[in-house]
Structure formats: C-alpha cells, structure tokens
C-alpha cells in the first residue's frame, strides 16, 4: 500500500476515466429525454380528436350536397318548397349525427343557417340554383371545443 501512495503516475488516465463517465451520464440523460418526448407526442396525437372533427366537417359538407339533390328531387313530386324540404332533411341529419356522437360522449350541434341562391329568393328555388349552404358546426368532447360559425359549403356543381 505504501508503494501505491507514492505512485502518482497515470493522472491523465484517471482524469480521462472521469471525463468518459461524465459523457456517458450526459448521453444517458439526453437519450432518456428524447424517448420521453416520443411518449408525450404519441399520447397527444391519440388524445386530440382530430379525426372526429375532420369527419364531422367533411361528412356535413358531403351531406349538404346529398340533401340538396334529394330536395330538388322531392320538390318535383310535391307542393313543399325546396327550402322547406331542405330544412326538414337537414334537421333529420343533424339529429342522427347528434345521437351517434353522443354514444361516444361527444356533443355536436349542426344547425342550418341559410340556403343561398343566385336566382331564387324567399325559399323559391328552381333546378340547381342553390350554390351555397351556411351551417353552424359545433363539436365538444369536454376537452376540445371546435366551432365553425358559419361553415360555408359550396354545393353548386
């Protein structure tokens, strides 16, 4: 042991060992932070209802066109105005969407604001005059609230 105390060579080797240890500690801490960031970003991607909102929006857009075509078709065989038929069908669509989203604990509200036509006025439209539908869309899952007030839907072909 006496010889060990007197042997003071190899100081650089001892120092490099310490440096290497510190580098390893630093790298381990960095790697740990990186994987934790991956965990949190995945979690955020899963929790945010991006697809539910997108689906509500795009399906309402598609249905605005479907309801328009159906309204024109029904108007040809009834005395009811296109405006009235459109309102009734949209209300029916809105009610079904509300119930289907409610089964997942989400609240949606779809309300028809106006039917715009370049030619017809006061609810009297002929043929394919309807060119723009205005709809209010609201989505709420308790954490995320989405409101499009109003959503402009181009329906002219």
């Amino acid at each position: 042991m006496e010889s060990l105390k007197e042997n003071n060579k190899g100081q650089w080797i001892a120092l490099s060992g310490l440096v290497i240890s510190l580098i390893i500690i630093g790298l381990a801490a960095l790697a740990n932070q990186a994987v934790l960031a991956g965990y949190h970003s995945s979690n955020a991607a899963l929790e945010f209802p991006k697809e539910n909102i997108r689906e509500l929006n795009s399906h309402t857009r598609d249905n605005a066109k479907i309801i328009k075509d159906l309204s024109i078709e029904l108007n040809a065989t009834s005395n009811e105005t296109i405006s009235s038929i459109y309102g009734r069908l949209f209300e029916n669509y809105s009610s079904q969407m509300k119930k289907l989203y409610a089964t997942h604990g989400e609240t949606v509200d779809l309300s028809l604001v106006s039917i715009n036509s370049t030619n017809g006025t006061n609810g009297t439209y002929s043929g394919h005059d309807i060119d723009m539908i205005l709809v209010n869309i609201t989505y709420d899952d308790g954490t995320t609230l989405y409101v499009s007030d109003p959503e402009l839907i181009e329906v002219k072909e």
């Binding site: 010889s3 060990l4 042997n7 190899g10 080797i13 001892a14 060992g17 290497i20 240890s21 390893i24 500690i25 381990a28 801490a29 740990n32 994987v35 934790l36 991956g38 965990y39 995945s42 979690n43 991607a45 899963l46 697809e51 539910n52 689906e55 399906h59 598609d62 249905n63 479907i66 309801i67 159906l70 029904l74 038929i85 009734r88 069908l89 029916n92 669509y93 079904q96 969407m97 119930k99 289907l100 089964t103 997942h104």
Partner: protein, 173 residues
C-alpha cells in the same frame, strides 16, 4: 512480484462500477420508452385505419368497384357470424380493407339509429381484438336511391336519410 499499475486496476474497477450505477439509476428512475412503444404503434395504426376508411369512401370506380357508401347500402342486413360467415355479404368491403390494411386484423360494426334505438350490427369479424386495438369511425349517408341501386335491404322511405357509423376495430398480431 510485479506490483505496478495497481492504481490503474482500481481505477478500471471504479469506472465500471460508476457506469453500471449510472445506467441503473437512469433506467430505474423513469419509464424507458422506445420508438416502437405501444402508443407510437397505436398512433400509426389509428392513422392507417382512418385512411383506409377514407380511401374506401372516396375511391373512384376505376380503382374500386364500389365505394364504402355503396358497400354499406348493399348490405342485406344479416350479421356476420364467426367463423362460418365472417364477412356477411360485405365481401367487397372486406377485400378493399384487407388490401389497405396489410398484416392488420379488423372487425367492422355498423351503428345507426332506428326509431330512437341504437343498433350496432357486426358485419365483419376477423377475431377477438387484442389489447392494443384501436377503434376508428367513418360516417356514410344512405338514401332510398343508393340502397335501391345497390340492392340492399335497408328499408328507407323516399324522403329519408340514414346516417350509418362504420366502426373499424383494428389491431396488430
């Protein structure tokens, strides 16, 4: 007896212990999450499943014989049974989904309201979902015209719209 470099030997031992303790401390203090962790796989699976339903719904007739709405409109209202009839009569839908979701198993349910009652019907059954299953949904709207064109068994009036939720439960094995 050669008693030189004794300190080097001790230093090597000390460094080894220090490194081991460092790795142990870091790995035990927090949860190790790798890029292949379960949540990352779930995100990927959910994205793929959503895309599959969206692609099925907007597929032009040049790439798919029937789109999602047409497939659902043509349903004969009989539920799938496993394993005798796992796809009921929605073979076209199953074919499209299996192409878009390779190496992924899935079940498909249809949810809709009939006289204020929620109906959930199983139409494609590929097995029992695993723990890492994700559920995605897509809506289709049926009218009397689309159902008549496809020869389905939905009983819809001329002025009736039926919103159907297509629920896809997907998992990797």
């Amino acid at each position: 007896m050669n008693n030189k470099a004794q300190l080097h030997t001790l230093e090597g031992l000390g460094a080894a212990v220090l490194m081991t303790l460092t790795i142990l401390t870091i790995s035990q203090s927090t949860m190790i999450v790798t890029p292949q962790n379960e949540l990352a796989v779930d995100v990927h699976l959910e994205q793929m499943s959503n895309d599959a339903l969206t692609v099925m719904d907007i597929a032009p007739h040049s790439s798919a014989q029937y789109n999602l709405t047409e497939c659902i409109a043509g349903w004969d209202m009989t539920e799938a049974t496993y394993p005798s009839s796992p796809t009921s009569d929605l073979d076209e839908l199953d074919e499209g989904l299996s192409y878009l979701l390779p190496n992924i198993l899935y079940n498909v349910d249809l949810a809709y309201f009939e006289n204020d009652n929620l109906n959930v019907k199983k139409v494609i059954i590929k097995g029992s979902p695993a723990d890492n299953a994700v559920v995605v949904r897509h809506f289709v709207t049926l009218t009397n015209e689309t159902v008549s064109d496809m020869g389905g068994a939905w009983n819809l009036a001329e002025d009736e719209l039926k919103v159907v939720e297509v629920r896809l439960t997907a998992w990797k094995v």
